[in-house]
């Protein structure tokens, strides 16, 4: 089923690219499925995240203000038995994800972050965190955090969300 879904996804993204005037970010999102660990991804940083920087600097991975969570919407896996980059035991990571571009106040860089859902158990219910910096509606799915990104998992139940650095967002 996953390979079939990937085939559909690839087909959809090709179609979307054909119908889009501004397909750069969509194309990057397409490349990012499965949180592929591409080292560097060019992306416009003209409108970087605007988290309150003193709070963001102080916040850790169990805080919604943590800098990597700038476009997250869901429950923080770091509060649910996992971590900012690990799904809790007994869940499965979604192979598809949305992405955000977040500013790290510690080093002054912008990073592309992959938000993968962890799937297979019902909602964690702890550390609800909704931030939507540069988040886009569903017609740009690679930037949308309303969709259930467990949708293509064998068990599509949503549990929580991790935030995985993919690379530095270049100008």
């Amino acid at each position: 089923m996953r390979s079939l879904d990937r085939l559909f996804e690839q087909s959809a993204r090709q179609l979307a690219r054909r119908t889009s005037r501004r397909s750069l970010i969509g194309t990057l999102g397409g490349l990012l499925t499965g949180a592929a660990l591409l080292p560097l991804l060019p992306i416009d940083r003209g409108s970087r995240a605007h988290a309150a920087e003193p709070a963001a600097r102080a916040a850790g991975p169990e805080s919604c203000q943590y800098w990597k969570y700038c476009a997250i919407d869901g429950y923080l896996c770091s509060c649910c038995g996992g971590s900012a980059t690990a799904c809790p035991p007994g869940t499965a990571a979604s192979p598809i994800a949305w992405v955000g571009t977040c500013h790290n106040p510690a080093d002054g860089r912008d990073y592309m972050v992959s938000y993968n859902d962890c799937c297979g158990k019902t909602t964690c219910g702890t550390c609800d965190c909704t931030r939507a910096e540069r988040e886009k509606p569903m017609y740009r799915p690679s930037r949308n955090n309303d969709l259930n990104w467990c949708m293509a998992n064998a068990d599509a139940n949503y549990h929580c969300t991790v935030s995985v650095i993919v690379g530095v967002a270049e100008k």
């Binding site: 005037r21 501004r22 598809i96 019902t122 910096e133 886009k136 569903m138 309303d146 969709l147 599509a156």
Partner: protein, 387 residues
């Protein structure tokens, strides 16, 4: 001697009162035997609303509450399963819920389906099983929607490839699936047209035949820029179609009454000093009273990334003149941020506003006067519908 006389008088009084006291102490007659029953709904009122609780803390258990805005009472509940969406049939006789169930509760085989609830009884009267592609997203009018004659039902699919299912609700069958080339959602118009929103800022409109098969498709000119100022996908029903608000406060009114959508010139919710300061934001970003021609929008002060923040005020506009008629602060009414909004369509309209702390407020839609507030109305009431 005086005190003895007083004691005697008191004793006489006590003796006189004894029969009355004895009568007062007798147990009341027993309560009559009761009869167990199931409450029947009264005839539908224009002040009934359907309130969708996304149940964000336990999403396999979403539900729709039916609420009476005159008597301030819950009338009943429609269960909605996992990451679901709902809508009303054009005659409001039926609630359709598009949902997903897992065979073992929170796990196991996935079944996607639409369920039809009779709004006279709140009983589920039927279902149609779907391919496991139904869009699992937050509520909009366009996740599941009827054609104007109710002969067809459309269901948005995202796997994340985008398409939609065409269903025959009368015969409980799936007629087919239409690829939408990356465009999303099902905006119904007329008996046989479906439009979808595209990343390019255009509308794709697919025309169907009587069997639900595609007979043609067309793309509109672009009407928004997804990079600079995207539109919310939570369209608002108007007299001839829908209005789409943009993140920065532009109003795009689209007439869906013809063969192809006609996109009106956008206008702004904001006067020049307000631009860049105030903006719309919510899960359900506005409501229109079609008879009065009034638009209600939850507004807040905020910048990039605050489009899901609820409104601290409701701003009221005249759709014909684009003039703002009122600003209604919510804090002074004891309300937190407005996250969903709907208005009844009668001549004594009520505005229903749900907040980010699960309040449900009933407001006079002409004056803004707060009539009632329900506290703890479910967990996350993120969409309200009226017929």
């Amino acid at each position: 001697m005086v005190s003895s006389a007083r004691c005697l008088a008191a004793l006489r009084l006590l003796l006189a009162l004894l029969p009355a006291a004895a009568a007062a102490a007798a147990p009341p007659p027993p309560l009559a035997a009761e009869h167990l029953s199931v409450q029947q709904l009264p005839p539908r009122s224009p002040h009934w609303v359907w309130v969708f609780d996304e149940a964000f803390a336990n999403e396999i258990d979403m539900r729709v509450h039916l609420y009476d805005g005159d008597n301030y009472r819950r009338l009943g509940q429609i269960d909605a399963g996992y990451y679901s969406s709902f809508n009303l049939s054009p005659d409001a006789a039926t609630t359709v819920v598009a949902t997903t169930y897992f065979a073992r509760g929170s796990r196991g085989a996935r079944t996607d389906l639409v369920e039809f609830t009779d709004n006279r009884t709140l009983e589920v009267r039927g279902e149609i099983v779907l391919p496991p592609k139904r869009v699992q997203t937050l509520p909009t009018l366009f996740n599941v929607a009827y054609s104007s004659d109710a002969r067809l039902l459309y269901v948005s699919y995202v796997t994340p490839a985008a398409s939609f299912g065409v269903l025959d609700p009368a015969n409980r069958t799936v007629l087919g699936e239409i690829d939408t080339a990356g465009c999303v959602l099902v905006i119904p118009s007329g008996p046989n047209r479906v439009s979808s929103l595209c990343e390019s800022g255009r509308l794709l409109t697919v025309t169907l035949d009587a069997a639900g098969h595609e007979t043609g498709r067309a793309m509109s000119d672009p009407f928004f820029d997804a990079d600079r100022d995207p539109v919310f996908v939570q369209g608002i029903r108007t007299v001839k179609g829908y209005a789409f608000l943009s993140f920065l406060g532009q109003v795009h009114e689209i007439d869906f009454s013809g063969e192809q959508p006609r996109i009106g010139a956008p206008w702004s919710l904001l006067a020049a000093p307000e631009q860049g300061v105030w903006r719309p934001g919510a899960q359900q970003v506005g409501a229109v009273h079609r008879g009065l021609g009034r638009l209600y929008v939850p507004m807040h002060k905020g910048g990039e990334g605050t489009h899901k923040d609820g409104g601290t005020e409701i701003w009221v506009y005249d759709l014909a003149s684009h003039q703002r008629l009122a600003r209604w602060p919510m804090q002074t009414r004891g309300l937190t941020h407005i996250i969903a909004l709907e208005v009844s369509q009668d001549e004594a309209p009520l505005l229903f506003a749900a907040t980010d702390t699960a309040q449900l407020a009933v407001i006079d839609a002409r004056s803004g006067r707060l009539r009632h507030v329900e506290q703890h109305f479910g967990q996350t009431p993120w969409q309200i519908l009226v017929p």
